[in-house]
């Protein structure tokens, strides 16, 4: 039951809303993933790469000065310490290994903040595969460092100039490219979004975060687990292994300039049912079903949809989804940097901001925060904003 997977659905959400040209590729991917995931040799190889190359398990760090300051016992799951600087590498390597097992020679990926692009470029270099990454022109501008990292890793970065030139448009462009070359190419989708089997498969590759945390906690479970949610892969990765526990799960979405404006990325909080990028989910749209542009200071949360499993968690009340603004997230970057010596990614800073904002309500409780990525990539942007 905790899987929630039946015919690619999580309750009413998910599904396979993809052009017919892609269906054989999706069906083949589903079969190949099931086969690989049942194969101990594949699992062992994945696991040993996560250890020797990615540096897993990532530490569970008690943030003592922050805890003292806020009056909330904060534990940090340090995904920012994973190779390439975020949790994205778990999924990119998993899908890269699978693509290679399927005989594909070329990876394509989309990226928002650039972390998934860097992770895919890294996986491609590690596995000896060709790689192209689609990235919104606006994101290329605000994440120049990651663009250069991808190029250094031998990947071609392709600017996407349609729509608002951000993550949504990059996902659409990558899908279009996959429709053109489904036979030798695997689309390494970067989050728990897209048509089945992607949301399920990406969760399986990311649930290592929660499994590690569960074992590191040694039975002493926190009151709350909180994680930022754009598409939602780091959040589902840490939530999933705790599904059947009493731990409260909180997803933090981007409120941008405020959920009372039209400049935010709160797809669950403010969205409605619809189909975006292959699955039924909550999304930001107008009454005719036209997709609205999201907004967030953080490129990784600047997305008008959300993974279907989160939509389902929200519907059944297993998790709650709240949001914090750009300004609150920026403050939290400063807070964590100064108090703990950790510069968080703008995405992950949303969770720190949520804890700080609700410190009275959370007083004395233990909150496990998934610190999904490090802030190196954001430093130039933050500096320009005069923090």
């Amino acid at each position: 039951m905790s899987d929630g997977v039946g015919l690619g659905r999580f309750g009413d959400f998910g599904g396979q809303y993809a052009p017919e040209t892609l269906m054989p590729a999706l069906l083949a991917l589903e079969a190949a993933f099931d086969d690989a995931w049942d194969d101990p040799k594949f699992r062992d190889r994945f696991s040993s790469i996560l250890t020797s190359y990615v540096g897993r398990p990532t530490p569970l760090h008690p943030a003592s000065r922050l805890s003292e300051l806020l009056g909330v016992n904060v534990l940090l799951k340090r995904e920012d310490l994973a190779h390439t600087g975020a949790h994205k590498i778990n999924n990119a390597l998993g899908q890269g290994l699978l693509a290679q097992r399927m005989g594909k020679t070329r990876l394509i990926a989309e990226t928002g903040a650039g972390q998934h692009g860097v992770a895919s470029a890294t996986a491609a270099a590690y596995l000896g595969l060709e790689c192209q990454v689609f990235m919104g022109a606006k994101d290329i501008e605000r994440q120049a460092l990651n663009v250069y990292r991808m190029e250094l890793l031998g990947t071609e970065v392709i600017p996407v100039t349609t729509g608002a030139s951000t993550l949504k448009d990059a996902v659409s462009a990558a899908f279009r490219e996959w429709v053109s070359r489904p036979e030798d190419t695997h689309y390494v989708i970067g989050s728990v979004v897209g048509p089945h089997p992607f949301p399920y498969m990406v969760r399986e590759f990311q649930k290592v975060i929660g499994e590690e945390a569960l074992s590191q906690l040694e039975g002493d479970l926190p009151d709350i687990i909180a994680a930022c949610v754009g598409g939602g892969s780091n959040a589902i990765g840490i939530f999933h292994p705790f599904f059947d526990t009493d731990v409260e799960l909180v997803g933090v979405e981007a409120a941008g300039l405020g959920t009372d404006t039209d400049k935010h990325g709160a797809s669950i909080g403010m969205g409605t049912h619809g189909v975006l990028h292959g699955s039924m989910t909550y999304m930001l749209q107008d009454k005719d079903g036209q997709v609205l542009e999201a907004h967030s200071i953080s490129a990784g949360l600047d997305y008008p949809g959300v993974g279907p499993e989160h939509a389902w968690y929200a519907d059944i009340g297993r998790a709650t989804y709240e949001s914090v603004t750009d300004a609150e997230a920026l403050e939290a970057v400063k807070l964590l940097s100064e108090v703990e010596g950790i510069i968080p990614a703008l995405e992950s800073a949303h969770v720190i901001a949520w804890v700080s904002k609700h410190r009275d309500r959370l007083k004395g409780k233990t909150v496990l925060v998934n610190l999904s990525g490090r802030g190196d990539k954001d430093v130039a942007q933050i500096k320009d904003m005069g923090l």
């Binding site: 396979q16 052009p19 990028h277 005719d288 079903g289 036209q290």
Partner: protein
């Protein structure tokens, strides 16, 4: 206002040994008010595929995307697009297939969408971003209002899927003539002809080829292999490139006459 009109068209073209020519154009391009005149200019058409513009058209290339963007900017809501359908139906009397993306249907509500599209004069509906599996729950809802549902077959579709698609008795099978999104190609028809042959050997369902078609030589090659041809990007491009509405009408009249000739 029923698939019967398309059924009739396909039996006519079969008896005449030619292809049905079904040009695609986005509704509301360049504006909802001027849009119907462009359809009317395409005198060589046997039926029209009228696009309801969508913000994130996954199956469309740069040209149709650009056209859709202009139409949306010009205020082409679903109501405005169906207004275009209604006017084109009234002035030409030709069968109309509305093409859209599934989220437009779901956001409106499938029942309401079907009722409104049928009331506007549509004969069938194409939802470009869903496969057989997700189309099946929507099909009876459309058919209840007399709308035919078009199902896709792609070069990548294996034979057993082709059989399942044919079994659903679509108003026609949209044969995806090439891999990739919509757009003009310099490449040949190999994948399209091969697909048409596979479809033909398995079903008598009408087969209309589209994606990547624009040249009369490509169209002529499809004769005998399929029942119809859809051309979209080459038409949208001509509208985008025209200096004036009159110039666009003149060019569409000329171009569609040339393609209609190749269909014979």
């Amino acid at each position: 206002m029923s698939r019967g009109r398309l059924d009739d068209l396909f039996s006519t073209v079969r008896s005449e040994g030619r292809l049905a020519f079904m040009p695609y154009l986005t509704a509301g391009l360049p504006s909802p008010a001027d849009s119907p005149s462009l359809f009317e200019a395409m005198e060589g058409a046997d039926a029209f595929e009228v696009g309801i513009p969508y913000s994130d058209p996954l199956m469309d290339g740069q040209t149709v995307m650009a056209g859709g963007h202009i139409a949306l900017e010009a205020g082409t809501t679903l109501q405005a697009a169906l207004g275009v359908v209604s006017r084109v139906k009234e002035s030409t009397g030709k069968p109309i297939v509305v093409m859209t993306y599934v989220n437009v249907v779901l956001a409106t509500g499938a029942e309401r969408f079907a009722w409104e599209a049928a009331a506007a004069g549509a004969d069938a509906v194409i939802m470009a971003d869903i496969p057989l599996e997700e189309a099946l729950p929507l099909k009876p809802i459309m058919e209840k209002e007399g709308l035919g549902v078009v199902l896709f077959a792609a070069p990548t579709t294996p034979d057993d899927r082709l059989d399942r698609i044919a079994e659903e008795d679509p108003v026609f099978i949209y044969g995806v003539a090439d891999l990739g999104v919509t757009g003009e190609r310099s490449s040949g028809n190999r994948l399209g002809i091969e697909l048409a042959g596979r479809v033909r050997s398995r079903t008598r369902a009408p087969l209309v080829m589209g994606v990547g078609l624009s040249r009369k030589e490509q169209i002529a090659e499809l004769k005998g292999a399929a029942d119809g041809a859809i051309i979209g990007s080459a038409i949208v491009r001509r509208v985008l490139e025209a200096d004036s509405l009159t110039a666009a009408q003149t060019e569409l009249r000329r171009y569609t006459a040339e393609i209609a000739e190749a269909c014979r």
